[in-house]
């Protein structure tokens, strides 16, 4: 029924007048949130539609909720941006919503076809959105790169799917898995090859090394709200797909895959963090940071792949995803606010800006240090559950990955603390012209405070979020 609401929304939208669109879609996304809550509240057992190809369980519900909330925040972020840019409002919201729809589909998809459609639906609109600033060549360039790699990844996924289909003749994951086990093809080259192709395809969406190269450019080019959405929602979509596939399809061919993923996630952390150290452009910095974060989110699943103890893995990843989503949106909000005042790609131009806009300054402190994982801000708990699931089995891969994670946490601190340091401690940079736009429009205010509260609460009472993660993991594996 969630999906119905969402679809109806999309159908409604294009006919509306432009200035209402924003309102409606914002409201719509809120409305869509309601049935999720109801369903979660009186949840009894997984609803299985279309003979098992579409399942609504806690896992999907929780993530649906996350996606809708994130989209809602993205809308709020967008309002000012879209208004500043006179045409194509309707389309903008429509595209975002359809991407949301795709994400929603992915969460519940339990067969190749549905998942493929979901992924496509989620990513295709982003190609356009990333190129939204038509005049801006960077934007164009970002979008073309994004597009080409995206399509390539999609085709790789498809090829992998086709192989899977060929091997088993099934589309529904559970059947595929059973067939794989029965005719024990788990370790057969074809299966693994398909797994690799799919992994590569999804790796593009979650931007893990070496499939990450598009991210910085596209992030830099795309309009800020879109970037936020990319770094949170479509990344999450990718992870959802990855989680489902690993734990539903390849859960027995995990060994090799897991080890590869362990290495990938380790490398991803290092590449992401070390590259982020070098950035002076705040957006690129966040891009690389989100790459590093992807490494963190991936880690539990990777270890889970080896130990095939998926509950911990899913639990950690989902919890991380949820907390990460809000603090990251917050971080982008901060960049947005500061750029409204001083339009610059070099964050060192923002020296002492917090004196003029203290609220933004506080946001910056909260969100960036939360990303760095400093208690009592939400990020620490995200990192903590990841470490927990890494050490839970106490076998060597998990342990080493944990140590790598610890080291990276320290590296990350350096660049995460940089923006706060600049705007709080540095002295203002004279030869930068500021368009003294220190007041914060109400939509952004809302975004700020929503994600602020969620970040802090998730840090001080992590129980709530970890319960969500736990619930999802448990019911997911049932």
């Amino acid at each position: 029924m969630t999906i119905v609401t969402a679809i109806s929304l999309d159908l409604l939208l294009p006919r509306k007048l432009k200035y209402i669109v924003a309102l409606v879609s914002i409201l719509g996304s809120l409305i869509a949130f309601v049935p999720i809550i109801f369903q979660y509240a009186n949840y009894s057992s997984p609803e299985i539609l279309f003979e098992g190809s579409y399942v609504i369980d806690k896992f999907s519900l929780i993530l649906k909720g996350l996606f809708i909330l994130v989209t809602y925040l993205t809308f709020l972020l967008s309002v000012n941006f879209v208004e500043s840019d006179e045409y194509y409002q309707g389309e903008y919201y429509f595209l975002l919503l359809s991407s949301l729809l795709g994400a929603l589909v992915v969460t519940s998809s339990r067969d190749l076809l549905t998942m493929f459609i979901g992924i496509e639906l989620a990513s295709t609109p982003m190609f356009l959105l990333s190129g939204w600033k038509k005049g801006d060549q960077k934007s164009n360039e970002g979008s073309i790169k994004f597009f080409l790699l995206g399509v390539l990844s999609a085709s790789l996924i498809l090829y992998g799917f086709s192989l899977l289909y060929g091997v088993t003749g099934k589309l529904v994951f559970s059947d595929i898995a059973n067939t794989l086990i029965q005719s024990d093809l788990n370790q057969s080259p074809v299966t693994l090859l398909s797994a690799i192709l799919i992994l590569a395809g999804i790796g593009f969406k979650i931007s893990i090394v070496p499939f990450h190269s598009w991210a910085p450019d596209t992030y830099e080019g795309a309009p800020l709200p879109v970037t936020a959405y990319l770094s949170v929602s479509s990344k999450a979509t990718g992870f959802v797909a990855l989680i489902i596939l690993i734990s539903k399809v390849f859960y027995d061919s995990g060994q090799g895959l897991g080890i590869i993923l362990v290495f990938i996630s380790g490398i991803t952390m290092f590449v992401g963090n070390l590259s982020a150290l070098q950035q002076t452009n705040p957006v690129r910095l966040l891009a690389y940071s989100s790459i590093a974060q992807a490494g963190f989110i991936l880690a539990p699943m990777a270890v889970a792949g080896i130990t095939s103890n998926y509950e911990d893995g899913v639990y950690a990843s989902v919890t991380y995803l949820i907390i990460y989503a809000f603090m990251n949106i917050g971080a982008f909000l901060v960049i947005n606010l500061l750029q409204r005042n001083i339009q610059s790609d070099d964050m060192y131009d923002w020296g002492g800006l917090a004196r003029e806009m203290p609220l933004a300054g506080i946001f910056a402190v909260i969100f960036f240090f939360s990303l760095a994982g400093i208690p009592p801000l939400g990020g620490w708990f995200a990192k903590f559950v990841v470490f927990r699931s890494l050490l839970s089995t106490g076998e060597i891969f998990g342990l080493s990955l944990g140590i790598i994670g610890a080291i990276n946490a320290v590296i990350a601190l350096v660049y995460y603390s940089r923006i706060s340091k600049i705007i709080w401690m540095d002295s203002p940079n004279e030869n930068v012209k500021s368009n003294n736009d220190t007041l914060i429009p109400s939509p952004l205010r809302v975004v700020g405070f929503v994600s602020l509260i969620l970040t802090i609460v998730s840090g001080i009472f992590p129980g709530i979020f970890s319960n969500l993660g736990e619930a999802s993991s448990i019911f997911f594996n049932s």
């Binding site: 493929f116 496509e120 356009l128 360039e141 399509v151």
Partner: protein, 101 residues
């Protein structure tokens, strides 16, 4: 008849597509190469369907979906290429490298 030749053909098509993506400078040609890849996937699905004599025709349904989506993607791709062309008077993707570090 055996299925190997068809699969090999598909794989060949796939590789050609990849080669095209990597080598052709013109964005349109790159798009076409991508089409090739997608079609190779289609061939796979249909072939497998036949091989497995799948009563649900899952493979064929899948390939139909792929065709539609491929169409959509090419549309989007062309749109982006057009936009680029408008801004840069070229469709040579290798000239788009503003964002070196």
């Amino acid at each position: 008849m055996s299925i190997q030749p068809i699969l090999i053909a598909a794989a060949a098509l796939f590789s050609i597509g990849i080669y095209g993506i990597l080598v052709r400078r013109n964005a349109v040609m790159v798009l076409l190469s991508i089409e090739l890849i997608l079609n190779s996937v289609n061939i796979n699905f249909v072939a497998f369907n036949a091989m497995l004599s799948d009563v649900f025709l899952n493979g064929q349904i899948f390939s139909i979906f792929i065709i539609t989506i491929a169409a959509a993607e090419v549309g989007i791709g062309l749109a982006i290429v057009l936009m680029l062309f408008r801004n840069r008077e070229t469709a040579n993707i290798n000239e788009f490298d503003l964002m070196k570090w």
